[in-house]
């Protein structure tokens, strides 16, 4: 566990001039006035979650389930406050009903950041199988989604996708690939 922690924290960075993936995500959220961030934890997202907690601009908190987080940001949107949900691939897999019966039919700009497990060196069979269900679910609901692999494309994709979600009142999934984040490796 300690080694796995080291693996992610080595990419964490700290300063405000930092161009790490998680600092870009944080700044992009802030620029788009997205301040409510419920999440279900993921090892790779740890530095982002930690920095969101440390920044008073954001209301960041854990939920017991991803569906719950989607309900919360949907309610917040209707009340005039923007939010985004952080989760990992297996958490996305629990969302089909909520997407199809809340976010899509009510036309709610649900912004999801999904840390991608199950690919590029996955060691857990269950994770690799569940990952293969993600894009078919997104496609079957005609949901906009982008897989981000490059640091130099992250800001453009995240910023434009958030603006599109808000203006077209449609959900979007931004999938954070291990090529971007380093992923989780089998070394614990």
């Amino acid at each position: 566990m300690a080694t796995a922690e080291q693996q992610t924290s080595s990419q964490a960075g700290a300063g405000s001039g930092d161009r790490s993936w998680h600092s870009i995500v944080l700044q992009t959220l802030k620029r788009n006035e997205i301040s409510l961030i419920p999440y279900v934890p993921d090892r790779v997202l740890t530095p982002l979650i930690k920095n969101l907690h440390a920044d008073p601009f954001f209301t960041t908190f854990a939920t017991a389930r991803e569906e719950e987080a989607v309900g919360i940001v949907s309610g917040a949107w209707m009340g005039g406050r923007r939010g985004a949900v952080l989760m990992q691939t297996s958490g996305f897999a629990t969302l089909a009903n909520t997407l199809a019966s809340l976010a899509v039919p009510y036309q709610i700009p649900l912004i999801m950041f999904v840390s991608e497990r199950g690919t590029l060196g996955e060691f857990n069979y269950g994770q690799s199988l569940v990952c293969r269900t993600m894009r078919p679910v997104l496609d079957s609901l005609a949901l906009e989604h982008h897989t981000i692999t490059r640091l130099d494309e992250l800001e453009f994709i995240a910023d434009r996708s958030i603006k599109q979600a808000v203006t077209t009142q449609a959900p979007v999934a931004l999938i954070l690939n291990p090529l971007l984040t380093g992923g989780k490796t089998f070394d614990k």
């Binding site: 719950e68 309610g75 209707m78 005039g80 009510y106």
Partner: protein
């Protein structure tokens, strides 16, 4: 459930009593099924949100509204079966302590809309004890209609989230919600002052 000395009330009656108390454009989120139908039948208000699916999310949606609009009281009406699907939400709400959120649980021990099958909690689990154990200290069973009204009044004046549970009968909902999600959402946002109509 019979061990509790609480009266079995009627959902439409208590929903109407609740709505009659709302004088400050309080938001009300209706869970799916009969909870929703009776909210509609009690008299449509632009501050009502009607769920058409996503069973179990009435409290999370209401929590989101409450976090977005901390100066407005937000009610959520949820059935016992729906709450069982998302018990973890109680801990999330307890941890966040929204001052303006009031949760109402209508407990008849059955999945009424799907043919009245008993829920797994019926006769074994106490939903108020679960709420208290989840960290929601201001949780109580309403003994009768008068007690329900008293609990609602109290919840509207405290600075912590409240949960009120009541035993209800198995009478079907009185109305039928119009099933137009976009219109429901737009009206709700107008009602909350987030948007102006075109």
């Amino acid at each position: 459930m019979n061990a509790r000395n609480t009266k079995v009330m009627n959902r439409f009656d208590v929903t109407s009593r609740l709505i009659a108390k709302l004088k400050h454009e309080e938001a009300v989120v209706g869970g799916i099924g009969n909870t929703n139908f009776d909210l509609w039948a009690a008299g449509h208000r632009p501050q009502n949100f009607y769920m058409l699916g996503s069973m179990g999310l009435a409290f999370p949606i209401a929590l989101g509204v409450a976090l977005a609009q901390p100066d407005r009281r937000v009610f959520a009406l949820e059935g016992d079966g729906s709450l069982l699907m998302q018990l973890g939400a109680l801990s999330t709400i307890a941890a966040l302590k929204p001052k303006n959120l009031i949760m109402i649980v209508m407990d008849n021990g059955i999945y009424q809309i799907t043919g009245a099958q008993p829920t797994p909690a019926a006769g074994v689990a106490d939903l108020v004890a679960i709420a208290l154990g989840s960290g929601l200290a201001n949780s109580a069973w309403a003994v009768d209609e008068e007690d329900f009204e008293r609990l609602v009044d109290a919840a509207m004046s405290v600075d912590e989230p409240s949960l009120i549970a009541l035993r209800i009968d198995d009478k079907p909902g009185v109305g039928t919600t119009r099933r137009d999600p976009v219109q429901i959402r737009e009206r709700f946002m107008h009602g909350l002052g987030v948007r102006e109509p075109l």
